[in-house]
Symmetry: C2
Subunit: 246 residues, 2 copies
């Protein structure tokens, strides 16, 4: 099942996607959800982030060649994005940091279900801004702004993450590319390891790392489009703009 | 009003504290809560963290003399702790990182209410572990483990944060001390600034920074007690232990 959230008369609703249409979701979306009546054609329905994560945990270094990778590394690097940074699959990325360089990263993400299970998979864009004044080495502010984590278009509960191509495009130019099999930590291992030191909750999202760049870093300019494409799963398409202070 | 959460027959309940007793809370705890019937004497009631934060935002450098402070600093340094790291005012701090150095930091914290208001104040312990293998410069893992953010004992909605002594004690020895007035960023300014780049939600918690150490850093050993004492507000008392893997 492809679980979505969508806007219905101004309120978020659970739904699922089938045959290019959005249907309402009956029952608990975590346990045995059922397809209900049709809400509308997929193209006419406003999709939201497919869940509202309590927290978003991101693996910083999970592909060969990633910046910071060392031969002695025995554990992934982890950082956090708040649930409030999540946004919809076609929403604008709005930078609140005028004049700061901002870039996108294409990532395969998993969504936690009940009891530390993997409910399913979704695409994610780990949007990041240049470190504040060069000294925000914690990268918290750089990655935590509203709209800095587009997710979607759906949570595919039947998706197999094996041997999938993960790509990022900026204005149509391929900027990142990798294969999910090349990840240093695979999903079951990641979830098990995280669970040894933090409680994972339903709807928490784990970003499994960005594949390496295939061109030098491109920064986002007003009106640029960043596309995250994950083989067999779906696509995010987000425009970038800077928020102008009044 | 001093808002608490407490355990009642295994379930968390909202309450308030008055005259050394815990009372049930009637109405919405965010808007015009009312004191209900007595639940029990304060000493016999198991207090939980006084809220379950969506996110915990911490200011890294907010006192004169703090590590990393520069004369050119125009903004505070920010990092995140997940809501799942919150724990009760007298709960054990349990490190899941055997053999890693762990320490406590005493902080005055504020709790967000409706519409970006400050609902009230509470005490916080920003527990931190040594960086993983020396390369977790993001400090996310170091600060995000379950139990690494004791909060409480209550949210005091009538507390004035002006000119208050903030202290940390390890096994009775004073290890940190500062005055809230010395903070570089005061609370209204902090909330307004954070709101320019991230949505703050009710029950989000903001840790306003640790005052500087008055002795060299002390690491926590099995059974040690760390006390956070905030003048006029209350005290956290947490024992430290390492979780032994089976």
């Amino acid at each position: 099942m492809k679980i979505v959230r969508y806007l219905d008369s101004g309120s978020p609703e659970w739904g699922c996607v089938s045959q290019e249409s959005v249907f309402r979701l009956g029952g608990d979306p975590l346990n045995n959800p059922k397809r209900g009546e049709m809400a509308g054609p997929l193209k006419s329905v406003k999709l939201l982030a497919p869940c509202r994560p309590g927290k978003i945990i991101a693996l910083g270094i999970n592909y060969p060649g990633a910046t910071g990778l060392t031969e002695t590394m025995t554990e992934p690097l982890v950082f956090l994005k708040p649930g409030t940074s999540a946004s919809g699959p076609y929403d604008d990325i709005v930078s609140p940091f005028p004049g700061k360089e901002v870039w996108g990263e294409s990532e395969l993400a998993l969504v936690i279900g009940a009891n530390n299970t993997i409910l399913g998979y979704t695409a994610a864009n780990d949007v990041s801004a240049d470190n504040v004044e060069g000294w925000d080495h914690h990268l918290a502010r750089s990655k935590a702004a509203d709209t800095f984590c587009p997710l979607g278009p759906w949570i595919d509960t039947e998706y197999s993450p094996a041997n999938r191509i993960i790509e990022g495009f900026q204005n149509g130019e391929l900027v990142r590319r990798g294969n999910s099999n090349d990840r240093l930590w695979q999903d079951g291992q990641t979830v098990a390891w995280l669970s040894t030191w933090m409680t994972l909750e339903p709807w928490d999202v784990i970003l499994t790392g960005a594949p390496t760049r295939v061109v030098p870093r491109r920064y986002l300019k007003e009106g640029d489009q960043f596309v995250v494409r994950i083989e067999g799963l779906g696509e995010l398409r987000n425009r970038f703009r800077e928020r102008r202070l009044q």
